[in-house]
Symmetry: C2
Subunit: 407 residues, 2 copies
């Protein structure tokens, strides 16, 4: 047997297989476990019949494009369709030369990390924030500074304070502010318009770039939530906007998009050519055809009431079953409730194995979403995938776990 | 206007947009130019009807998998199908836990670079070698040492000599030997069985890993060529094998695969989770269904005589039109002829613009395939994509360019 460890890079050596990942990887095979761990759309929302017809049709009609190599940036017609769609839906001005189609938005996070980050550079994020964004940025060697959020999103006053205190050399190393302003993952909150304005002013004053990750603005089911995208307010071209087909059409296509200045798009393209050459042509054309046929709008028309009602079921079950020292978010959209168990020593990561084996319920320990080692007493709970009944029973099991682990 | 240059990483700053890339990017819009530049399958070989039916069928039958998120390593059933196929076709022993499905084999090259390479580490390759492999390895900071090849493939005697002369500290930094042993890109030659044995012995003696990139072994159209894969000879689990659907089914699916030890597969998986989470589920299932239905075998049955005959057309045209100071390979398979123009000062890169604008013919300058700055007088010529007539006329144009540039 060869000992491969001497061959591995620092990156591969440093990435430890986490116990949490191992535990969550196998729960799909254990039907008795109710999982709140994923970030997966309700299977009933996947437009099977429509996409089956579209897939057949685009291969027959445009097989020479759909089955063939394509441009690294993405197929031009698909980029044009996406730009139109973003303009219509999000008031985002975008040109085909400023958009790059990526292999899911995970690949966009990775490409952006590689285009901007040298080891030791700084990224500012909300805290908690999306764990796989942390993963991508850290893989490139980023140091991450977290800014707390409340029910109006990132505390931009604290961001400003932080920047005011930072030595100039340190500010020079801030490559971008990463934010998930609408229906934030994991916290489920949205930035108010005033905060968005404040954030844009801060970026301008300190000459900073912003990465706006926006998988969830389509999935805001509460009235009165400000859904303005930072990119639509972006007069100085500081915002790099990320979108994805995963939550509004199908994750299995693996299609995301980055909208930025043409200069940045060019750099992303140059790095991407050696990363995966281009994203799947077939998936790109399916997406573009689905947009043109209004399939996404149909999916959303079903998704919004469904997710709202599942959220209601989860919040109701929590209210009925959770002890009063559990604080949890009241999400206005997206797929998740985030909960903090305010009891000394409660460690959701350490309890996960027991939760799965004994209580038959799973979640993502909240520590992974925190950039500063905090949040061991928190957990992220998904309500989009489980059924109403599973949500109901799962929350009861969780309540039992919490009660029996805090006594 | 923001000056973005201060934000870019060293990687993004260092990747210069090459003039060659710019020139080649636009030739698809210039119908009068005959291009030998791509590495693209003949469009007549794309099995449109079959894949259209398969795509529709798998979405209707397995939509919950094909349209949904899947495992980072790849869908288990697809990995099993692939392992069976590789065992049957290539005598490669592979387990589902030792295979990772990637977003084309470009992504495999990138992942392997990230799993093994720290800046300053060494990769040994054939010289010339595949330019996008050089790109991926260099992006990770690799130093590349090239070993010449002849019509029996890599000169393993020179490899051995090189290793014997290397100081021990330097050998410690050799992370792997990258080889394209069968129908090599760009040279079109295959390693003899004796050389393969010798290479495996050297790897064992010096305790080195081998990355075997194998897009073309399915496309060997000459009799008597040894098609044994290094991976099938690999008793010590030193070989990391890369395959792809791009040349035998469809590049637009973006599906490749890496077969290695489970330990290495695990590291690739851990890095991949933050790179693109997983490769497209839909493409994976289409591939697996196409294998089961024998579509790949049907494609190959058409491809082999077609490519052989196109190669014949190209070689014949070269014989008739090229001056005798042009040496060119006689490929036994694959998609390319490689040519050296043995005249002082001939620079195919510097001539490319003129070739396209004036002579209406394009190629990839051979310097990009050389790891040591040599090969400015060489070019790679693709015969799989252009028609027989285009090959005929294109070679005449090229001959004119060569004659008029060397007088």
């Amino acid at each position: 047997m060869i000992d491969y460890s001497k061959y591995y890079s620092k990156l591969a050596t440093g990435i430890k297989a986490s116990e949490v990942r191992e535990l969550l990887a196998i729960i799909s095979q254990r039907k008795e476990v109710i999982s709140f761990a994923g970030g997966i759309p309700d299977p009933a929302l996947l437009p099977r019949e429509e996409l089956a017809e579209i897939a057949r049709d685009v291969i027959l009609r445009y097989g020479d494009v759909a089955l063939q190599y394509s441009e690294t940036k993405g197929i031009r017609e698909v980029r044009e369709t996406l730009c139109d769609y973003l303009h219509k839906k999000k008031n985002i001005h975008c040109e085909p030369e400023g958009i790059v189609i990526t292999t899911g938005s995970q690949s966009a996070l990775d490409l952006i990390a590689r285009v901007f980050i040298d080891p030791g550079d700084i990224v500012i994020t909300e805290n908690p924030t999306y764990l796989a964004a942390i993963g991508a940025f850290k893989n490139a060697g980023a140091r991450i500074i977290g800014i707390p959020l409340d029910d109006k999103g990132m505390r931009t006053d604290l961001l400003e304070k932080k920047l005011m205190e930072m030595p100039k050399e340190q500010i020079e190393r801030v490559k971008y502010i990463y934010t998930n302003p609408i229906a934030q993952n994991p916290a489920g909150v949205s930035m108010s318009f005033d905060r968005k304005k404040h954030l844009m002013e801060i970026a301008s004053e300190y000459n900073l770039l912003i990465v706006e990750d926006d998988p969830y603005s389509y999935l805001v089911f509460e009235e009165g939530v400000d859904k303005t995208n930072l990119k639509s307010m972006d007069k100085e071209n500081r915002v790099i906007y990320l979108g994805t087909a995963s939550k509004i059409l199908s994750p299995g296509l693996r299609i995301g998009w980055v909208v930025s200045s043409t200069d940045i798009a060019r750099r992303i393209e140059l790095v991407k050519q050696y990363v995966d050459l281009h994203s799947p042509s077939l998936s790109q054309i399916i997406l573009s055809e689905a947009i043109k046929q209004g399939i996404i709008d149909k999916v959303l028309a079903k998704a919004l009431p469904m997710y709202k009602s599942k959220r209601d079921t989860m919040l109701k079950a929590m209210k009925e079953n959770f002890p009063d020292y559990v604080w949890y978010s009241k999400p206005i959209g997206g797929l998740f409730v985030f909960a903090y168990i305010h009891r000394e020593g409660f460690d959701s990561g350490a309890l996960l194995k027991k939760a799965i084996d004994l209580y038959k319920v799973a979640y993502v320990p909240g520590g992974s979403f925190h950039v500063d080692g905090h949040g061991k007493n928190s957990m992220r709970l998904n309500y989009s995938y489980p059924s109403h009944e599973q949500i109901h029973i799962g929350v009861q099991r969780l309540a039992k776990l919490i009660l029996e682990s805090t006594n």
